[in-house]
Symmetry: C2
Subunit: 757 residues, 2 copies
C-alpha cells in the first residue's frame, strides 16, 4: 500500500515529466522549422504560410529571439482567450462541444471534491478502525471509507453524500444537455445555406426492370413529394476510378518534382530508368516519360468515368434527393415513404465531407446480418482478446524462437539480445494490439455499414469505452482477464457481484491515482508535444518532400480523435464518481487532469487539429449516456461495498438511487435527444421564409447540383480549379534564397494561441 509520501513522490515525478514536456513544447513550437507541426490548422485555413520564405537563413530554422523563450507558458492563457462563439467559427461546433466535456468534468467534480473534503474526510479520519486492526494500511486509507468500523452509524454520511453527489451530477448533466441542444439548434439555424439542409439520403431504392435508378428516384419523389422535389444525385460505385485518380496524383507529383529539378538546373535534363524502382532498364527523359504516362492515365480516367456514368450497373441503389425547402427535406427525412419499411429508407443527409461513400449501397438484410456478426465478434474481442496474445507471447520466448529458427541460436544467446527479447517481446504483442485496437474497432464499425464518418466514430467510441470499462476498470479492480471475470460473474449471484467489486474498490485507490498521473497528466502533456508527428514530419521533410504539395501532405494535423479521446475522458468520470464517496482523496487528481486537458486540447483545437467533418455535436447523447452509466455503476458499487460493512439498513435507500438515475436519463432522453436526431419543422419553416424574403431569386438547383458528387469525380473535375491547389501552382518554387517576398502572414485572430516571433 502506497502511503501519502509515495503518492507525493509519484506526483512529483509526474509533475516534473509534464513540466518537461511543456518546456520542450515551448522551445520546439517557436522554432520556425517546426511551424507546420505546431500550427497546421492555420496553414490549412490558408491564414499562415511557411516561415521558411523570409528572414535570415538561421532565423528561418531556429528562433533567435530569446525573449520568446522566457514566456514559455504563454500559450496557456492564449488558448483560453478565444471566446466560444469564435471558437465555433474557427474549429466547428464539434470541437467546441468536445471541450465542454472537460468543463463538465470540472463542474461536476470541483463542488463534489469541496463537499467531500469538508464533510467526509473528517468523518473518515476520526476513526481508529485501521489503527486497531492488524491490517497494513496507508495514510490514504485513513481518509477512505475503509477506516469506518462495520455497522457504524457514520455510514449515513456516505449515504447522504451519495444522494448529494447524484443530484448534483444530474443537475449539471441536465443543464449541460440543455445548453448543448440549444447550441446545436442555434448552430444549425444560424448557418449559411448548406446543401445538407435541403438534402435527404435515400437508401435501398428497389430495383426496377423498366427504369434506371435515377429515373425511379425522380418519379418516386415527384409523385410522393410533388411541389417539393427539386433534384437528386445518384451514387456511383467509383472505387476503380478512385484508384486511378490517386495514381495520377502520384505521377503528377513526380512530374512536378522533375520539372522543379530541371528549373533549378536547366543545364541537366532529368532522366530516369524505367525498370524496377528506377534501378535498371532504359534511361529516358523523366519529364517526357511522366507527361506521356499522365496523358495515358488521363485518357484512362476519362474512359472509366464515362463508363461509370453510362453504365447503369455502376449506379448504386441510393441517392441524395434535394428539395426546394428545408421544410420539405425535414419532412422527407422524418417520415416513412412506403409500406415496406426496408425500402426507400430516408434519413437526413450527412454533410458532404461526412459521407462514408463505401457503405451507401448495403441492402437492409445484409445490414442486419452484419450487425449480428459484429456484435458476436466484438464480444469475443472484448472477452477473449487475451487468448491470441497469450499464444503469441508463448511463441515469442527464447526457447520458442530457438526451436523455430535454430540457426539464430548463437545470436539470441548473446546476453544483451536475450534480455531484450525476454523483457520486451512478451509485452510487445499486447502493446501492438492495444495500439491497433481503435483501428480494429473502426474497421468493425465500417463493416457494420454506417453511412457517415461521424457515426462511425461514435460507434467506435462506444465500443472502446466498453472495452476500457471491462479490461481497464474492472480488470484493474479484480485482477484477471476479462474472460475470467465473466466466468466469475456467471457463477456469482446478482447480489454478490457489486459486493466483490465494491470491496476491492478502496484498495485500488492508490493504483488509480498513479494511473491518473501517468496516463492523464503526463499523457496530456505529451499530447501537446506531438512527438510522433514532429519526428515523422521532419523525416518526411528530409527524405521524401519533393514539392510544396508534398510538404503540405507531410504536415499531419491529426484530428480530435473522438473515437479514442472521449472514452478516455469517460474513464476519468467513472473513476471520479466511483471514488467520490469511497476515497475522496482521488478527486483532486482528476480535477487537475480535467484542467490540464481542457487547456491543452483547447490549444490543440485552435492551432493544430484539422476538422474533417461537422456533425453539429451529434455525439452529445452518447457522452451524456456514458456519464449516467458511470453514475449508476458508482451507485451499485457503493451498495455492494456498504452491504459488506453491515450497513444493511442503507440498501433500500441506495437502491432508489439507480432507479431515480435511470428515470432521469429517460426523462432527459425524451426532453433533449430529439434535438440531435430529428429536425423541427418550425425552425426549417422559419429559415425558409426568411430566405425567401431575402433572396427570392436564388437558384437553389444549381447550388445543390454538384454538392453530393463522389469526391473522386470532384477531384477529376476540380483538380485544376481548386483554389488551394491554384495557390501553390502560382508559386511552386522552393528556393528560399531567391525570393524574399512573404513572411509569416499576420494572424487573423487576436486571440489565437500563436506567439511565434
Amino acid at each position: 500500500m502506497a502511503t501519502l509520501g509515495d503518492i507525493g513522490v509519484a506526483a512529483t515525478i509526474n509533475i516534473l515529466t509534464a513540466f518537461a514536456f511543456f518546456l520542450a513544447f515551448a522551445i520546439l513550437r517557436i522554432q520556425p522549422v517546426n511551424d507546420r507541426v505546431y500550427f497546421p490548422k492555420w496553414y490549412l485555413k490558408g491564414l499562415r504560410s511557411s516561415p521558411l520564405h523570409g528572414g535570415a537563413l538561421v532565423s528561418k530554422f531556429v528562433n533567435v529571439d530569446f525573449r520568446s523563450y522566457v514566456r514559455f507558458l504563454s500559450w496557456m492563457p492564449a488558448a483560453l482567450r478565444m471566446p466560444e462563439p469564435e471558437l465555433i467559427d474557427h474549429a466547428g461546433l464539434d470541437s467546441a462541444v468536445y471541450l465542454r466535456i472537460y468543463l463538465i468534468g470540472l463542474k461536476i467534480f470541483v463542488p463534489i471534491a469541496s463537499l467531500a473534503f469538508a464533510v467526509m474526510v473528517p468523518v473518515n479520519w476520526t476513526n481508529t478502525t485501521l489503527k486497531r486492526s492488524n491490517l497494513i494500511y496507508s495514510n490514504i486509507d485513513m481518509l477512505s471509507i475503509s477506516n469506518i468500523p462495520t455497522g457504524s452509524r457514520r455510514f449515513w454520511t456516505h449515504l447522504v453524500m451519495a444522494y448529494a453527489f447524484t443530484f448534483w451530477t444530474c443537475y449539471v448533466l441536465k443543464r449541460e444537455y440543455e445548453i448543448v441542444a440549444a447550441m446545436r439548434l442555434h448552430f444549425l439555424a444560424s448557418e449559411q445555406r448548406r446543401p445538407d439542409q435541403f438534402t435527404v439520403l435515400v437508401r435501398n431504392v428497389p430495383p426496377d426492370p423498366d427504369e434506371s435508378v435515377s429515373e425511379l428516384v425522380e418519379h418516386f419523389f415527384l409523385v410522393n413529394h410533388p411541389e417539393h422535389y427539386l433534384t437528386h444525385q445518384v451514387v456511383y460505385n467509383a472505387n476503380k476510378l478512385s484508384e486511378l485518380v490517386n495514381k495520377k496524383k502520384k505521377l503528377q507529383n513526380w512530374l512536378d518534382f522533375y520539372e522543379l529539378k530541371y528549373s533549378r538546373h536547366p543545364s541537366r535534363k532529368p532522366s530516369l530508368k524505367t525498370g524496377f524502382l528506377g534501378l535498371w532498364g532504359n534511361r529516358v527523359d523523366a519529364i517526357d516519360f511522366y507527361i506521356s504516362k499522365i496523358d495515358r492515365l488521363t485518357r484512362e480516367i476519362n474512359l472509366e468515368r464515362d463508363k461509370i456514368l453510362s453504365n447503369s450497373k455502376s449506379v448504386m441503389p441510393a441517392a441524395f434527393v434535394s428539395f426546394k425547402t428545408r421544410w420539405a427535406a425535414a419532412v422527407c427525412a422524418q417520415t416513412q415513404q412506403t409500406r415496406n419499411p426496408t425500402l426507400w429508407l430516408t434519413e437526413w443527409a450527412p454533410e458532404p465531407r461526412d459521407v462514408y461513400w463505401d457503405n451507401l449501397a448495403i441492402p437492409y438484410v445484409s445490414l442486419a446480418i452484419r450487425r449480428l456478426i459484429i456484435a458476436v465478434a466484438y464480444f469475443f474481442l472484448t472477452f477473449f482478446f487475451m487468448i491470441p496474445i497469450a499464444f503469441v507471447q508463448s511463441l515469442a520466448n527464447i526457447e520458442g524462437i530457438e526451436k523455430a529458427v535454430p540457426f539464430l541460436k548463437p545470436i539470441i544467446e548473446v546476453k544483451v539480445i536475450k534480455s531484450f527479447i525476454q523483457g520486451f517481446l512478451p509485452g510487445i504483442a499486447l502493446k501492438i494490439f492495444l495500439i491497433f485496437l481503435p483501428d480494429i474497432l473502426m474497421l468493425m464499425s465500417k463493416f457494420e455499414g454506417f453511412v457517415s464518418r461521424s457515426s462511425l466514430e461514435r460507434r467506435s467510441a462506444t465500443r472502446y469505452y466498453i472495452f476500457q470499462f471491462i479490461n481497464v476498470f474492472l480488470g484493474s479492480i479484480i485482477t484477471g482477464t476479462a474472460f475470467q471475470q465473466l466466468d466469475n460473474f456467471m457463477h456469482q449471484s446478482a447480489n454478490d457481484i457489486p459486493k466483490t467489486i465494491g470491496v476491492s474498490i478502496p484498495m485500488k485507490a492508490t493504483f488509480f491515482i498513479t494511473y491518473i498521473m501517468v496516463d492523464g497528466w503526463a499523457g496530456v502533456a505529451g499530447e501537446i508535444l506531438r512527438l510522433k508527428p514532429l519526428i515523422i514530419y521532419h523525416l518526411k521533410n528530409f527524405f521524401l518532400v519533393k514539392t510544396e504539395k508534398d510538404r503540405e501532405e507531410a504536415m499531419d494535423p491529426g484530428t480530435l480523435g473522438f473515437n479514442t479521446g472521449e472514452p478516455q475522458i469517460q474513464l476519468y468520470f467513472l473513476l471520479g464518481l466511483v471514488y467520490a464517496v469511497v476515497t475522496p482523496f482521488l478527486l483532486p487528481f482528476i480535477i487537475i487532469f480535467f484542467v490540464l486537458a481542457f487547456v491543452v486540447y483547447r490549444h490543440q483545437i485552435i492551432n493544430v487539429y484539422n476538422q474533417e467533418y461537422e456533425s453539429a455535436a451529434a455525439f452529445w447523447p452518447d457522452v451524456h449516456g456514458r456519464i449516467i452509466t458511470a453514475l449508476i455503476v458508482s451507485q451499485l458499487l457503493l451498495m455492494g461495498l456498504l452491504s459488506t460493512k453491515e450497513a444493511a439498513q442503507s440498501t433500500p435507500l441506495l437502491i432508489t438511487l439507480p432507479i431515480l438515475t435511470i428515470w432521469f436519463h429517460r426523462f432527459c432522453k425524451g426532453c433533449y435527444e430529439p434535438a440531435f436526431v430529428r429536425n423541427p419543422l418550425q425552425e426549417a419553416m422559419m429559415k425558409d421564409t426568411l430566405e425567401r424574403a431575402r433572396e427570392p431569386n436564388f437558384n437553389l438547383k444549381s447550388f445543390l447540383q454538384n454538392a453530393y458528387i463522389h469526391p473522386v469525380f470532384k477531384g477529376v473535375e476540380d483538380d485544376e480549379s481548386d483554389p488551394a491547389v491554384e495557390e501553390f501552382e502560382e508559386e511552386p518554387v522552393l528556393i528560399p534564397t531567391k525570393r524574399k517576398s512573404r513572411t509569416n502572414t499576420p494572424l487573423p485572430s487576436k486571440y489565437s494561441g500563436s506567439s511565434s516571433p
Copy 2:
C-alpha cells in the same frame, strides 16, 4: 406423481365438464328468452330484434322445436364458416387478427408435436434410467427428458430438436407478422374515408398570454403547415357536464318507466314520495315530478355547456388538428414540430371511439413522473402482493374474528359456519385480489396517461402477462411467493437461475397438464356458456328492467378483453415451448386448447362481443414480442436443465439459440413494426390522389368538423336523433300479448353462427 392413468381420469373429468358446458350452452342458446345473452352482437348491429314479440306465449320463452336440440354442436361448423374478409367486415380487424393468435398456436404446435412424438418420445422411452433408479416416477416421466441418463449422447437429439423448434417457430412468426402487417395496411387503405385518417392529435400546446388555445393552434399550423392545414377541434374538460348528462339520462329513464306504468293502468296516476329512496316525504305526481326535474337539469346542462364553451379555462392544451390530405396528416404525425420536443407533440389521432378523453391534457413532465410512480407501484404489486393478502388472511381466521367481535362467538362456533369460515375465508382474499387484478392494472395504465383505449389495454396486457409469468409460471415451478423467488434469484448466480428452474421443469409437467385442462378446456367451454352475463341479465330483466332501453342496457355483450385474454394465451405458448423439448407429452393438451379456444372465440366474436374501438391490429408487435420471450425463456431453461445433466458440450450450441432469436426479433422489428407505428406517405398519397379524382368537390371540412367532439357534447346534441334511440322510441311498449307483428329478423349473413329456430 401422476401416472398416465391419473391424467386420463383428470382428462375424462375435464372433457365431461367441457361437454356439459357445451350441452348447457346448446340448450340455453336456442331458448328465445336468452336470445339477447347469446346473440347481442346482432342486436347491436340492428340486424336482430327481440323474439319476445311474436309467436305463441310458450315458444316466446322456451324453444319447443325439438329437432334443434339434436344438432347441439351445430354452432361449431357455423362459427368456422364465415370467411375472414367477412369477419373483418362484421367484427373489425382487431377481432379477426386476435383469432389468428390461436391459429398461430396451431401452426406452431401441430408440426412441433408431430416431430416430437416421432423422434423424441422413442428416444426418451427406450431408456431405463428411471427404472433403475430408486425414484418414484410415473409413466409420463418415462416419456420425458428425465428418463435419459446423465451425460448420455442422446441429448444431441434434444439439442437438434431445440434448433428445429426454434427455427420453425421463428418461421411461423415471421410469416404471420408479414401477413398481419399486410392485413393492417390493406385494412387502412381500403377503408372508407375516416376522420382519423386526416387528423393528428396535438398535445402540450404551450400556454400563451395573448392567444387562446384555439387561436394558437390555428396560427401555429397555418404557419408551419400552410397549404395543408384545414381545421381543428379543441378539447374541453367536460367531466362535470358528463356527470350532469348521466344524471339526466337516469331521470329520463324513470320518467319513461312511470309513463309506461300510466299507459298500462290509465286509471291510477303513478305517484311517489320525494324523500330518501321514496320511503317518506310528500307524495307527488311521479310524471310531473320527473318532467320538472328533467327540465331543470336540461337548463343546468345547457348552462354548463355554454360555460365550458365560453370559458377559456375549460379548454385543455390539446387539440385534434385536421388536414386537407392524408399525406399532410401523415407528415405532421411523424415529424417534430418545434425545437422543444416536449411541446406541440403530434401523434396519429386514435379513432374517435378509441380516444380516452381524460388523459389528453397531461403535461410532459407529469407524464414522466407518473411513469416512474407506476413502474415502482407495479414492481411492488407483482412481488409483494402476497403481503396484504396474508395480512387479511391472518385476520380472517376464527380466533381473529372472535377477538374482534366477541358477541358473534356463539354463531361462529356452530360447526357448519366454522368449517365454512376456515375453508373459505382465507382463500377468498386472494380470489378477490385476482378477480380485481385486471382492473387494478387498467387503473395503473389510465394513471400513466395513455390517450387511447387500445393502448390502455395493450399496456395492461403486458403487465398482466408479466404478473402471470412470475406468479403463475415461475410460482408453480419454484413454489414460494414472488418475493421469495426474487430474493432467491438475487442470491443465485446468473448460471444457477436457469438450472434451478430447469431442473424443476420436468417434475411439474403433470401439474401443468392438469392446469391446461382446468383453465384451458373447461375454462374456454365455460366462456361460451356466459353464465355470469346470463344470470345477471335475467336478474336485471326480472327486477330492474322498466323500459326497452333498460333491456338494451341489461344486455351485456362484453368485449374481447384483450387485456386479460391475450396474456392467458401467451401462458400456453410459454408452456408449449418450454415443454416441447422436455416433456412433449404436454403438447397435445395445448393443441386441444388452441382448437377449442379458436372455435369458441370465433363463435363469440361473431355472435356476442361488442367491438368498442378499432385499432387495426396495433397489438400485434406485442403478441409477437411475447412469443419471442417465451421462446427465449424455453431456450434458457433447456440450457439450465442440460447443464445439470452433464451435457456441458451442448452449452455453446444452446447459447447461440437465444442470440439468434434476439437477432431475429430485432430483424422482424425493423422489417414489420413500422407498419404498426408510422404511416407511409406513398399509401397516403395514393389514396389522396384517387379520392381527388373520384370526388373533387367533397366538402372535407364539414365532414371533419364534429368528428372529434367529446362524446358528452355529442350526447347532448344527438340524444334525440340517434337512430338506435329513435327505433326504441317508436315502440316503447313491453306488452308481449298485445302486439304480434315482428318475429326474429332473418339473419343477414348466411355464414353467421346462429341457428335459432
